[in-house]
Amino acid sequence: MFSGLMLTAWESASIVAVVAGVVGFFIVLRGSAFAAHALPNGAFAGAAGASLIGVDAIVGLAVFSILGALTIAALGRRARHDVATALVIVLMLGLGSLFLSMTTEYAPQIYSLLFGEVLGVSSSELVPIGVIGLVAIAAILLMYRPLMFSSVMPDVAAARGVRTRRMEVAFLLVVALTTTMAVPVVGALLIFSLLISPAAAARSFTSRPLGAMGLSVIIALATVWSAIALSYLSNLPIGFFVGSIGAGTYGAGRGFSAWRRNRQASPRQSSQTLQPGVAG
């Protein structure tokens, strides 16, 4: 399970999980789950197009997810955000289906683009994945305070001189970067699950921002690691495990906060349910 090829898988998936945990925390906080779902879908078209003209998939992923982020930001300025997002998604997916019909890719390759192929990451791809991940984390750290402010209280932040509009675009670009590095590992459709499930679960365990962010990273790592191990042992696709473990941890989080609400009267709190990663 820890041989050469699998080692690359563990490393790339761990990087993805850390970045997804941090970025996902802000996605949940800002309620931009839809955009987080849209960008990976758009990136799928990029990967398909890249394979059509014969360039590296990661270039196509980056170009299309960044274009998608800017389009959503531009269209969202003039119309309802969700409509703009929905239309950008389907346009990108439509392009993806066109590119795929033109290439001679086999169905399994299309499949792995959409649902992930953890063994599909080669060791030479680790460097770009790591670099992009670092840039994404650095960007989040750099704008941590204004981003947090504009996420929690957009109106007050705007009144205090935070450029919320610019914050939104910058944040979408960070999501685009995350997408670019994550799609080859967990697939276009399931990066979404990794972005929001751990963060959503973490928020029901603690309300302190830094604590929730750390917990979100831990849950994301636990999700990915158990998904790889289960996928390796059962020979079933990793995406299946990421999706169901993600939903499981969220369910555990919801259950925990409901339980805590019921127990509010009694001050004693046992810590036995504080094991989110195991829950799935």
Partner: protein, 299 residues
């Protein structure tokens, strides 16, 4: 319309049985999607609509494993997902994107599993593309009655609850004050949405069906503010885009790169998006102010 298009139409277009089925089914589905989609846009539930579409992939791919028509898979899965989404709280504006997203993530995981089983169990590799991107030309004529029934049910639900649905979509508080059972209306609407999404999943594919649902309706709501008129215009735009898409896909058989033809779904989606862009440019000045004010009122 056919008159000025006739030089563009390849010979044999109208006498081809798969094309005839595609035109009929595509037309019916576009009408239903336009009607239901108008309310989806008004209620700000584009994400729910899109999620149901994606969730449908799990149903469609499961149907492939079982060897039944994907349509039944879509319908069963989407109805179930609509139920779960309603149960875990689609009504609260803040939490509902999250609730939707979690269900979506779990369902996509299932789709990954089923599609994997499809591609490994049978050597025919079509399942992934068929479920995700649609296959209007390979639709068997025997499915037409079922599609008709589901269409009538979906459109019927919307028409029966027409007035309460408008009221709850614009202002839930006002609807409660009027004695409307908002939750019941919401559930009925979700059922219609689940059916509409399943139907368009059959025509242009599960992950693209959002286009038929949201695109024409969003365009129509830019053109007019009246719900009934918007639904009619949306249906018209949807039908036009679908038929043109079928026609172009048929013609594209002789385009670059030779041999395959371009996918119908690509044309339909692109036409719908272009329509939306045009309406944005044309009507934006007038509509933005109105939409601002209506968005401020929306729950």
């Amino acid at each position: 319309m056919p008159g000025f298009l006739s030089p563009l139409i390849e010979p044999g277009f109208f006498s081809n049985l798969p094309v005839q089925t595609a035109l009929v089914v595509g037309g019916v589905v576009a009408v239903v999607s336009g009607i239901v989609g108008t309310f989806t846009v008004m209620r700000g539930q584009s994400f729910a609509g899109h999620s149901l579409a994606d969730i449908g992939t799990a149903g469609g791919s499961a149907a492939f494993v079982l060897g039944i028509s994907p349509l039944f898979g879509y319908v069963a899965m989407n109805l179930m997902a609509a139920g779960v989404m309603e149960w875990i709280g689609i009504r609260r504006p803040r939490g509902r994107d999250l609730a939707t997203g979690i269900v979506l993530g779990a369902a996509l995981g299932l789709a990954a599993l089923f599609l994997y089983l499809d591609t490994t169990a049978s050597s025919t590799t079509g399942a992934t593309v068929n479920v995700l991107f649609g296959s209007i030309f390979t639709l068997p004529a025997s499915m037409v009655p079922f599609i008709a029934i589901f269409s009538v049910v979906a459109a019927g639900i919307v028409l029966v609850m027409y007035r309460p649905l408008i009221l709850t979509s614009i202002s839930a508080d006002l609807a409660i004050a009027q004695g409307i059972r908002v939750r019941l209306v919401g559930i009925g609407y979700l059922v219609a949405l689940a059916l509409a999404v399943s139907l368009s999943a059959v025509t242009i594919g599960a992950i693209l069906s959002t286009a038929l649902l949201i695109g024409p309706a969003a365009t129509a709501l830019r053109i007019t503010n009246r719900t009934g008129r918007a639904a009619v215009i949306a249906a018209g735009i949807g039908v036009t885009a679908t038929w043109l898409g079928v026609l172009l896909a048929y013609d594209s058989y002789y385009w670059f790169p030779n041999g395959g033809g371009w996918p119908v779904s690509f044309f339909v989606v692109t036409l719908i998006f272009l329509g939306y862009l045009v309406s944005q440019l044309r009507f934006s000045g007038r509509a933005v102010a109105q939409r601002r004010s209506s968005a401020a009122q929306a729950p």
